[in-house]
Homo-oligomer: 307 residues x 2
């Protein structure tokens, strides 16, 4: 089960009724925060989410509206007596951003560990108890600065076949370990999960674009996702030149990307402050991709296997 | 005329219904922002104040809850195409704080000028059009780090006496300049304002304590103020030891200070998040100082000469 909460849906500037873009993903008792603009900690409290136990903060790029909430959040974690390490991931340049951040917070009683991710991250490799089937994979996006989006996947093994296990003579007390993906031994023989499970089943895939103009790497990364949370800074097609110049998408471009990638659902976010009522534009956009939903602060969705 | 708006009234942590402590003072078309915690720019928009034209940001100390809104505010000023310089004042250590702040914002199209104030500041000396009668004077406070409070005063000259002016033979067209405090010449003779005005009249005095435990320098600075905006982190007397340890005041201590200083009105602010309804405690505190008011986000007051 994966739970996703949109903490804020505003782009560029914080506005009174929309916090800056940030989203929280919870999975197996752990959580990943995607971006952290000024006010993210307060906005999270408004949605009922706690950020205090966040394991990983995944930054898409280093513009202020995506990172200026970090010093305050880290100091609040300090006040709340956090002791476990905080992993912060992001594209190239992360250390240059974290240095002044940590100068501002002063010494913290927990470790802040910057991880510039290029090849992807298996949270279970660094965080005890994180589901081993979970992966966070960055992909290149097209913004005015070095930037990336993230694919969160939770793999699902094939169905366990008790008949095969029986016919191979594997003792029943070892079945659980095989189902969890381990290789086991019995009577001097080794059995691997592949021998007793069917083909891998559809897992869960959630994609965060961060700030980006349309690009092939995004369409590729979003293939077949359950949920695509996408930059939709501008509502109207007349702002296409502006979107292109500033490395953002319009509502229509986000919907085209969702359609091309064959995702199940699209959430629009990172609205310009000119957009007062994003829902006004939705009928047009649903002609391009019917599964489009206007993100709003506090919107939340639980995705289970096999939906 | 001076207008004061409480932008936020929360201390230490931002909470959903109270922004971090900050106050805006407007005078003669100019403005001074006192402290700037995370979320101050959004909170200001909620109160209907614009911070975009702020001339001076006066910091009381460098704990995160008083300064982490600065990088975002400066970037928003950038987006809004500010070009005039921004003065930032504060106690010793200001440059060490501003360096990482400006590393985070990157280059700005306006000058950010740090002014470590010790001897006081006449905004008119640095900002064109700021009323020359206005002064911002810091005073030492008692917190866990180097800290100060600020006294804002707007002086008021004595009453102009037309009879004296006439009997001295000063031409009427020069009276206006004398009333504005200038020395004039007529028929080879010099006339100074003192010759034609009575004793200086009561001006306007507003005091911001920032974070502090009770101390003599605060009581001295607050003497006879029209408005004292005071640290009131803890509501109940049972928290006196905690207040003392952490360099804050309880409601009662703030009221005692107001009573000793003979101020006209006291606004409590910087509430701990434990305080849900500050008004609950007000009857007790009004026994100590009847002019006590519980600050709340967006509270605003215009103070005129001669009230």
């Amino acid at each position: 089960m994966v739970k996703v909460t949109l903490i804020g849906t505003s782009g560029l500037l914080p506005v009174p009724d929309r916090a800056l873009s940030a989203a929280l993903l919870e999975c197996g008792g752990h959580s990943v925060l995607f971006d952290c603009g000024e006010g993210t900690q307060t906005a999270a409290r408004r949605t009922g989410c706690s950020l205090m136990k966040t394991d990983i903060i995944a930054l898409t790029h280093y513009h202020g509206d995506h990172i200026f909430g970090l010093p305050g959040l880290m100091q609040t974690m300090f006040s709340m007596e956090r002791s476990k390490p905080l992993y912060i991931t992001g594209p190239e340049g992360l250390r240059n951003v974290m240095r002044p951040m940590l100068e501002l917070t002063g010494e913290l009683p927990f470790d802040v560990i910057p991880v510039e991710i290029n090849g992807g991250l298996r949270p279970a490799d660094i965080i005890k108890g994180f589901p081993p089937e979970a992966r966070i994979t960055p992909f290149e996006t097209k913004h005015r600065v070095k930037s990336c989006g993230y694919v969160f996947t939770l793999d699902r093994a094939g169905r366990f076949d008790p008949q095969s296990a029986k016919s191979l003579g594997i003792p029943m007390e070892l079945w659980g370990r095989l189902q969890r993906g381990e290789t086991v031994e019995a009577d001097g023989r080794r059995f691997s999960p592949e021998q007793v499970t069917g083909k891998a089943r559809r897992g869960i895939k959630i994609v965060f674009t961060g700030d980006t103009a349309p690009c092939d790497s995004l369409t590729d990364a979003a293939q077949d996702a359950d949920l695509l949370i996408a930059d939709a800074t501008y509502a109207e097609d007349e702002h296409l030149p502006l979107a292109s110049e500033r490395g953002h998408m319009t509502f229509s471009q986000a919907a085209q990307c969702a359609a091309q990638a064959g995702v199940r659902e699209l959430w629009l976010t990172h609205y310009s402050q000119r957009i007062k009522e994003p829902e006004m534009y939705i009928p047009v956009v649903r002609n391009i991709f019917p599964g489009t939903v206007c993100g709003r602060d506090g919107m939340c969705r639980v995705i289970n296997f096999g939906e």
